[in-house]
């Protein structure tokens, strides 16, 4: 069953955050269904992109994979081993292989630690006892991400956003992980710096055979950087496919609207635009049936009652939309 080139398989992953209420404030009255049953797999050496708008659950999904937030339900198979159910010590060891880069390079570095200590800390955590060896590794990784030895002695506030992101990358890289989850790694950066960081990440991927899960809201960055892409809406994956297919011929009406909403890259290029009406519904009370039906320009009558499944519409192209699915067999 285990496919050798499959590094990670996520099955029906759910994260429901409880909302406390009632007189004592301790009773769980409702749930925010931030991630509501997503499944996908990531192959060794590829970059898997997760796109979606704010509140769609993409960051929660990324964190749930690392179990930084405990998933409510589902399975996460990393190299065939289910991460859900591992105890704390075992999970901690696994994090040597799975690392994360955060969005905000200002908030994700301890302002009172020197860069050297920030980058070194994972090695201490993962039990590299020899201080000389640690120093050698830190200096090596600093060189790989383009930090000088002098810079290692400084504090985070002395760096610009792009350089801080390099520190974050160095910290993720030092334990020699197989998978790096990059949660909006360039969203806080200016475009000229953004491309520096993206190029660095690509270089590192080639050199170390890294696998990335790249979480972003920026469709053009995702197109540039990823091999396969999953589109999320309201806690669900609505479409998963290779990037060529997604950008040339998106099938899900939400993906179509999302892509058409992208500003054009030239003033004379006028785009046929699908403007969605309204806002994303609350994940506390997602709409019945297909969760997109309240805003969907192609909605049918059945959409409000039957929930579509993420099924293959063509080879390597899975979409969760009733336009592409036989519904007769599934009523009831």
């Amino acid at each position: 069953m285990l496919n050798t080139d499959e590094l990670l398989r996520v099955e029906d992953l759910k994260k429901h955050f409880p909302i406390k209420g009632g007189i004592t404030g301790k009773k769980t009255v409702q749930h925010v269904k931030a991630v509501d049953g997503i499944s996908f797999d990531v192959k060794r050496g590829e970059t898997f992109g997760i796109v979606g708008e704010s509140g769609c659950g993409k960051s929660t999904a990324g964190r749930a994979i690392l179990r930084m937030i405990e998933p409510t339900d589902g399975h996460i198979y990393f190299e065939g081993k289910d991460l859900v159910g591992l105890n704390k010590t075992e999970m901690r060891k696994m994090r040597k292989d799975i690392q994360i880069i955060f969005q905000d390079p200002f908030a994700s570095l301890n302002p009172r630690m020197r860069v050297f200590d920030i980058v070194e800390e994972p090695l201490i955590n993962f039990g590299v006892k020899d201080a000389k060896e640690r120093r050698r590794r830190v200096e090596e990784v600093a060189d790989q991400v383009g930090l000088t030895l002098a810079q290692l002695k400084r504090l985070p506030h002395e760096f610009s956003g792009g350089q801080r992101q390099r520190i974050g990358i160095a910290r993720a890289l030092i334990s020699k992980p197989k998978l790096i989850i990059a949660d909006e790694p360039v969203s806080a950066l200016d475009v000229s710096i953004q491309s520096q960081v993206l190029n660095l990440m690509k270089d590192l991927q080639k050199e170390f055979g890294l696998t990335y899960i790249f979480i972003s809201h920026d469709l053009s960055v995702v197109k540039h950087f990823c091999d396969r892409i999953g589109v999320m809406y309201l806690g669900k994956m609505v479409e998963i496919t290779g990037k060529e297919k997604l950008y040339d011929r998106p099938l899900h009406p939400y993906s179509q609207a999302l892509l058409s909403a992208l500003p054009s890259s030239h003033p004379l290029q006028k785009k046929e635009r699908i403007i969605l009406t309204g806002d994303v519904p609350s994940p506390v009370h997602p709409p019945s049936g297909c969760s997109f039906h309240t805003r969907c320009p192609a909605r049918m009558e059945v959409c409000s009652t039957i929930e579509p499944l993420l099924l293959e519409a063509e080879s390597d192209h899975r979409v969760s939309c009733l336009l592409y699915q036989e519904t007769e067999t599934r009523t009831g």
Partner: protein, 330 residues
Amino acid sequence: MDIKLLEVVNLKVGVNQDNKEIPIVNGISFHLNKGETLGIVGESGCGKSMTSLALMGLLPPGVDWQSGDIILEDMHFKNFKNKDWRSVRGKKISMIFQEPMSSLNPVYTVADQIMEIVLNHENVSKRQARVRALEMLKLVGIPRPEQVLDEYPHQLSGGMRQRIMIAIALACNPEILIADEPTTALDVTIQAQILELMKEIQEKLHMSIVLITHDLGVVAEMCDRVMVMYAGEIVEKAKVVDLFDSPKHPYTQGLLESLPDINKQMEYLSSIPGIVPAPGNMPIGCKFSPRCPFVHDRCSVNPPLFDTPEGTKVKCWLYEEASVKKEAVL
């Protein structure tokens, strides 16, 4: 025919540190025509937001108007007192900000906030002001406007809040709308809605828009003319089509090339090496020279804005010859 509405002359804004003037906006000049959309693009710290705050007389404490003037009709903003500013803000020039949640007052209803500006500027009764508020909500496309009037900002989504901000800004029918990163905090599908709305309203009310953004896609979508700012200076002024077809300044070129293009696939993005210099620690001569691939001896002197034959203005020595030739032909 272009009618000049607003003119900025050699505006210099900055902080005073140890009796030294450290400019944030360093002597920029431009004008705004009636009915046009002028884009100001640049990266963080280039002075684009300071420029817009100077236009509204809203410079933060510690930041001074060092020299230069802004002229609207027969008014010279240089000499303005607080009272004069109040008569201009909201009436002649309005502004919308990046973060609609923090620019709305959380303890007042939507109606209160729109009525406030109408009551300030016009001699109308409260009832009339409320009618105007309702009209404005309809204009900016708020669903169920009668109810929303009595709601508070926290009850609305990000896109709706930005619509409310636009409603407040336009309540007194200003001639100029300054939009400082109006869609940066919004999702793409909501961004598309808001940009569409701004275009629609501009057509209806014939106003001019100054659009400040870091997003070149938004510029391509909205603007007629663009100015590119770098380190407190304007490095290029062009018609929007010219800017995208033949960017002149090495910085503009680098900026456009470092954007991932959705229509092309390439292995690596080109990037501009180095980082933006900090105010107070500016390189001598051309501010972009330490990062510029075409840097040469002349760059130790800060270049003026040269005219190119296409009509673009560019602050770079590489275009000195082209501009001299043009003068010779004339």
